[in-house]
């Protein structure tokens, strides 16, 4: 049977057991203890309890554990800073408030479920509206489907090359043996135009990136100059010289090779070149 102390002196007894009794309380309790056997016994029993319960037995941690404690804490702190929002941030406080106030509320689960379903529906509509392919093609979709853009100067050089090729092919295949005397006025005009464009292109093209194109253009410019300088309608010997020059330099072959090369490298160059694109 345990001893039950007097209710009035419970607080004093507790303070006495743990050595927290004030001087004024000490004398008051002592006067009571002198008269109350129950309270005296309780005091003895409690001292026995505390004596037997002893000090807490904690697991011994190695020195390494304590030395590496800081390191583990820093790692954890860094992880916490990267991950979850800080508790003292606005969002952290709102989340904490929600946890404390609403998570335990009986209506929380049905409300959360309803909100979740509504959220899914609204999310689906939004995703469908903005991400699902529409009937009409928007500018963005066209842009996505369009092949990579080609820089302006390079594209103009390719066109210049193509037009030069056509001119040369026409000249090479011109029948000079017929009775009708050929008229090269149109070829001369085209050659002059091409020469004018070539001068502009020489300034615009990149000497390093478009080195091969510039070399080919230089060779073609010599031929175009000869064509542009055809003096008369019947300057057949001059035309023969031009033909020989085209054949000797293999210009048509070089143009074909250059075009093939352009087709292969154009997308790559388009990504590297200036933002001024077609």
């Amino acid at each position: 049977m345990n001893t039950t102390p007097c209710k009035k002196y419970e607080a004093f007894l507790t303070a006495k057991i743990f050595g927290d009794l004030r001087a004024a309380e000490e004398s008051k309790l002592q006067a009571h203890l002198d008269e109350c056997r129950n309270c005296r016994n309780f005091l003895v029993e409690m001292e026995d309890v505390l004596g037997k319960i002893g000090t807490p037995q904690r697991p011994e941690r190695s020195e390494h554990f304590w030395e590496s404690y800081w390191q583990r804490l820093v790692q954890r702190l860094e992880k916490a800073e990267r991950g979850a929002p800080a508790q003292d941030s606005v969002f952290g406080r709102i989340a904490e408030w929600l946890r404390e106030k609403w998570l335990a509320h009986p209506l929380f689960v049905p409300l959360a479920r309803t909100a979740g379903i509504l959220g899914l529906l609204v999310g689906g509509v939004v995703i469908g509206h903005y991400w699902w392919p529409q009937g009409g093609s928007s500018e963005q979709q066209i842009a996505q489907l369009t092949p990579p853009a080609i820089p302006v100067a390079q594209a103009r050089a390719e066109q210049w090359l193509e037009r030069s090729k056509i001119l040369l092919i026409g000249l090479v295949n011109e029948d000079l043996s017929g009775e009708a005397k050929p008229d090269f006025s149109h070829q001369r005009l085209v050659s002059r135009t091409l020469l004018t464009e070539a001068r502009a292109l020489n300034r615009e093209l990149d000497p390093a990136a478009d080195r091969q194109m510039l070399q080919l253009m230089t060779q073609l410019e010599l031929i175009l100059l000869q064509i542009a300088n055809l003096e008369t309608e019947h300057d057949l010997s001059a035309v023969e010289l031009v033909r020989d020059g085209i054949a000797h330099d293999g210009l048509l072959l070089k143009i074909n090779i250059a075009e093939l090369a352009q087709q292969n490298t154009a997308p790559k160059k388009a990504r590297q070149k200036s933002p001024e694109v077609l």
């Binding site: 345990n2 800081w70 804490l73």
Partner: protein, 193 residues
């Protein structure tokens, strides 16, 4: 508040990493031990003590020095431990934890007697029984008992930590003692014989 502590708080609030390290080095064992005494599990104790330091790190700017730094940190640890206990109770993990805890106690170098049941003395058996009885107390009663008996904090300080009056601390402590008294009654000589 001691001038050293004021200076440490000033450095902490100025964001000095070295100050935070000083704080950790000075209090890591105390916070770990308190968490261990309240939870009885070394892994949880480290987890809680580190969580407490992180809370201190984040909210030192709000600390106005109304309480001592140590008391403030103790309060953080106590609250974290109470939350942990609540969560564990909710997830019905306490049974498993108690098994693990028993195993850990058996393997703990400090509990040599427990490692060999044949050598367990009567005193040790009573001590273990009383310690287990602490877990049967209410969370607040156990916390108060641990803070007073194991951590040797004055009653007034415990009141500040738990934000309750000193009178409440005493009455809760008295109830805790009464429950432990009941446990000890089991070993009274008259009942044994």
């Amino acid at each position: 508040m001691a001038s050293d502590e004021k200076e440490l708080i000033r450095r902490l609030q100025a964001g000095e990493t070295s100050a935070f390290r000083d704080l950790v080095e000075n209090h890591k064992r105390a916070l770990f031990n308190l968490a261990y005494d309240l939870l009885g599990n070394a892994q949880d104790a480290e987890d809680i003590s580190q969580e407490a330091f992180i809370k201190v790190y984040r909210s030192i700017g709000d600390f106005r020095g109304e309480a001592q730094l140590g008391s403030w940190m103790y309060r953080i640890v106590v609250n974290l431990c109470l939350n942990r206990r609540r969560k564990k109770a909710l997830s019905e993990m306490e049974l498993r934890e108690s098994f693990e805890e028993d195993e850990m106690h058996a393997a703990t170098p400090t509990s040599d007697h427990a490692a060999n049941p044949e050598k367990v003395t009567e005193a040790e058996m009573i001590r273990q029984h009383l310690r287990r009885a602490l877990d049967k107390l209410s969370p607040q009663q156990k916390t108060i008992f641990v803070l007073r008996h194991d951590e040797d904090l004055p009653l007034a300080e415990i009141g500040k930590i738990l934000k309750i009056s000193e009178g409440t601390v005493k009455s809760q402590l008295f109830r805790a003692l009464r429950k432990l008294q009941e446990v000890l009654a089991f070993y009274k000589p008259d009942l044994v014989s």
